[in-house]
Amino acid sequence: MKRLSRYRRHRAAGPFLLVVALLAIGTTFNVASATVAQSPNSFARTSAIEEGRQIFLKGCSSCHGLNAEGGAIAPSLIGVGAASVDFQVGTGRMPMADMSTQAMRKAPVYNAEETAALAAYVASLAPGPAIPTDAVLNYERDGSTAEGGELFRNNCAMCHNFAGQGGALTQGKYAPTLMGVEPKYIYEALITGPQSMPVFSDKTITPAEKLSLIKWIKSAENEPNLGGATMGRIGPVTEGLLAWVLGIGLLIGIAVWLTTKAR
């Protein structure tokens, strides 16, 4: 106890306690929000559509309306198609954790089966883009990396940065990183235009071109760091920082050693 009270007067005690408190609050919040997600669903499985409707009524209708007609805070889902549902729910963006700026990628709330059911239900409301099958997504065979690069720089780099690392949009919104995103979700995002992202129709960017895009993104993702650590592949800002901190820092350190008298 005595030892503890000594630490209490330590200079770093305040900041330390603050960090501990913040961590504790964060963990509690995480656990609490996770338990909501794990509520088990067991109901009669009449059909995938019916199952999807049930999930929808429980988990989505409070925002999107009982018939997916949309509401004050959420858009209508009629005609968005299975692809849209698969993207939003499969990447964990929906259900949304907080309504502030935009839905973030996180661990999905529903498992693959439930997601498929939801997608089937929403697709049954009105025709919309379907989930691409694995046969369609054979980008290794059907895509061309170089062509994909051209398409990427014309259509994607302005938001997602030259190497797909993501970038800033207005008012705190952002284009997320494309690194580590499954080909299926990239494809779905292109045809459905989630949130701020516009739609890239099959007529203006053909399915074959979309596969090239995916192939280029995957090639950028797997490219070794030629020339050394990349510092995020976000351009000259981190390079300038490193030049000052490590470069000038090291040199000043050595200059100090150089000019002090030896013992």
Binding site: T170, E223, L242, G247
Partner: protein, 528 residues
């Protein structure tokens, strides 16, 4: 005499009989250089310039500065079959097909970043210690010239590979040129050889980048260093050091070994950075075409503050009589930097006008002892940092989950509020540091040892500081403010009364400081 000595003697004799160098060389070898880490910053600049010359020459052996179209057929798979300029293709070849080519490219680019950083650090050292004062004003101006040359040389350098990022930079450069009233459009068409991006810009800036500007650099650096040599280096105040002498190590052997060794250290540190950290990965940016753009397009750091100023500029344009004047470009990109650099170049004369001090100075100031100048310096740094932050606002926004609009508004307000605030805080800090110095001289060092007096009170024991230290803390001079009365002896107003009033005001602000400890003060304390 050994044979080696004999041979050396013969060679020296051969040279001396023809150009009579012995006297001059002997004198030069006796030159003395004072030791301080901050005096090495200028050397970092010079050494990184040499490294730039060496690595740059290596790159020219393969680089093709042409804008002619080629189809890339090299080893880098993701760009195979893409149409690009020969400049970009040859940069890819240097990176992937010349062994050590990528290393050299990275050495060249890191050296450029460190060159500019070292120039700025060196400039700050000279400014804060007052090393620019008479008789060194010429060298200060030459330094500003070198910094300006560095901006241009750097911009041209990173533009040469013709990748998407540098092309975007050139697009902005051409817009700045076009914004110049009357002649801008013509200058832009002439420089680029037509409408942007033109056909001739890269080969032209290549010649400037590898011949003209390095030549100018070499000439100015030579004069800069020769003046240091001739005028002898400044030194920090200390025991045994006066305005009339310079104390340090002689050229041979200590300074030579240290400075020579330091060249290899600078080269080594730059090579180390180039080995472990990638810089300007042009193969990821892709070739330049004006219809494409990447999120987070930034210039190199030394141009970042200009870009930040352009970003925060208000959307002002004047449209009149069929002409357009783009204040949103002219003010942040040309007028403000123009004023800043002119003011910086003339600062030595401005300060000497304010203080009325026309004497030579070879002993440096400790920044705290000249609060006004130090505060002005910190104020300028704050200005540039706010601009620099705004220059990277999109990168900050993505990495720290902020909004670019917030950062922009922070900078728009901050650029006016923070620099004056920094001025006031720095001035206060300087004065309290002076107070700390004063306490140290008067009462000595706090030891942390407590002693109980017979009366029962606790007293901390103070250890007196060494006479040398005491001398350092009290040897600075404190010139009084200028006395400039607005009227002459007969009460008649003098010409230029307002100018004198301003000057007196500034002089008074400049002379602010705590009275330093005199030997009388100390004697009095000893009596207690």
């Amino acid at each position: 005499m050994t044979t080696a000595e004999k041979r050396l003697g013969n060679a020296a004799n051969f040279v001396d009989e023809r150009i009579g160098a012995a006297g001059w060389v002997k004198k030069s070898l006796n030159k003395v250089f004072p030791d301080h880490w901050s005096f090495m910053l200028g050397e970092v600049c010079m050494y990184s310039f040499v490294i730039l010359l060496l690595s740059g020459t290596f790159l020219t052996l393969w680089f093709d500065p042409s804008q002619r179209d080629v189809i890339y057929e090299g080893v880098y798979e993701p760009l195979k079959g893409i149409k690009m300029s020969a400049a970009y293709a040859s940069t890819l070849d240097i990176s992937f097909e010349v062994r050590g080519g990528l290393l050299m490219r990275q050495i060249h680019h890191w050296a450029a970043n460190i060159f500019m950083a070292a120039i700025v650090a060196h400039l700050l050292r000279v400014f804060f210690t007052g090393a620019f004062r008479k008789p060194r004003e010429f060298n200060w101006i030459l330094g500003i010239l070198l910094l300006t040359l560095g901006f241009v040389e750097g911009l041209f350098g990173y533009s040469l590979p013709d990748d998407l990022l540098s092309g975007t930079g050139l697009r902005i450069t051409s817009a700045i040129i076009q914004a110049i009233p009357l002649v801008g459009t013509y200058i832009s068409f002439f420089l680029f050889g037509g409408a942007f991006p033109g056909v001739g810009f890269l080969p032209r800036i290549f010649t400037l980048h590898v011949l003209l500007i390095p030549g100018a650099f070499l000439a100015v650096i030579t004069i800069h260093v020769m003046l240091v040599w001739y005028q002898k280096h400044t030194q920090f105040p200390g025991p045994g050091r006066t305005e009339k002498n310079v104390v340090g190590h002689p050229i041979l052997p200590v300074y030579m070994a240290k400075a020579g060794g330091f060249f290899f250290i600078v080269f080594g540190v730059i090579a180390f950075l180039s080995a472990v950290a990638s810089i300007n990965p042009i193969w990821l940016y892709g070739p330049y075409t004006p219809g494409q753009i990447s999120a987070g397009s930034q210039p190199d750091w030394y141009m970042g503050w200009l870009d930040g100023l352009v970003r925060m500029a208000p959307p002002w344009e004047t449209h009149a009589f069929g002409h357009t004047v783009s204040w949103n470009i002219l003010i942040p990109a040309l007028i403000v930097p123009g004023i800043l650099f002119t003011g910086m170049a003339f600062y030595p004369f401005i300060e000497s006008w304010i203080t009325g001090d026309k004497r030579e100075h070879h002993l440096l100031d400790r920044p705290r002892n000249v609060p006004n100048r130090t505060a002005l310096g910190v104020m300028s740094i704050t200005f540039v940092i706010v601009a620099l932050i705004n220059g990277g606002n999109d990168i900050l926004a993505t990495n720290f989950h902020l909004s670019i609009n917030q950062i922009m508004w922070f900078s728009r307000i901050g650029i006016f509020v923070l620099p004056p605030l920094a001025f006031v805080i720095t001035k206060r800090l300087c004065l309290s540091l002076q107070r700390a110095d004063r306490d140290l001289v008067l009462h000595g060092l706090e030891t942390g040892r407590l002693v109980r007096m017979p009366s029962g009170e606790f007293v901390e024991i103070h250890e007196p500081i060494s006479p040398q230290k005491r001398f350092v803390l009290t040897s600075h001079e404190q010139a009084p403010a200028l006395e400039l009365s607005a009227t002459d002896a007969r009460g008649v107003k003098r010409p230029g009364a307002i100018k004198n009033k301003v000057r007196a005001r500034l002089s008074k602000a400049h002379a602010v400081g705590l009275p330093k400890v005199t030997s009388e003060d100390l004697k009095e304390i000893e009596h207690h």
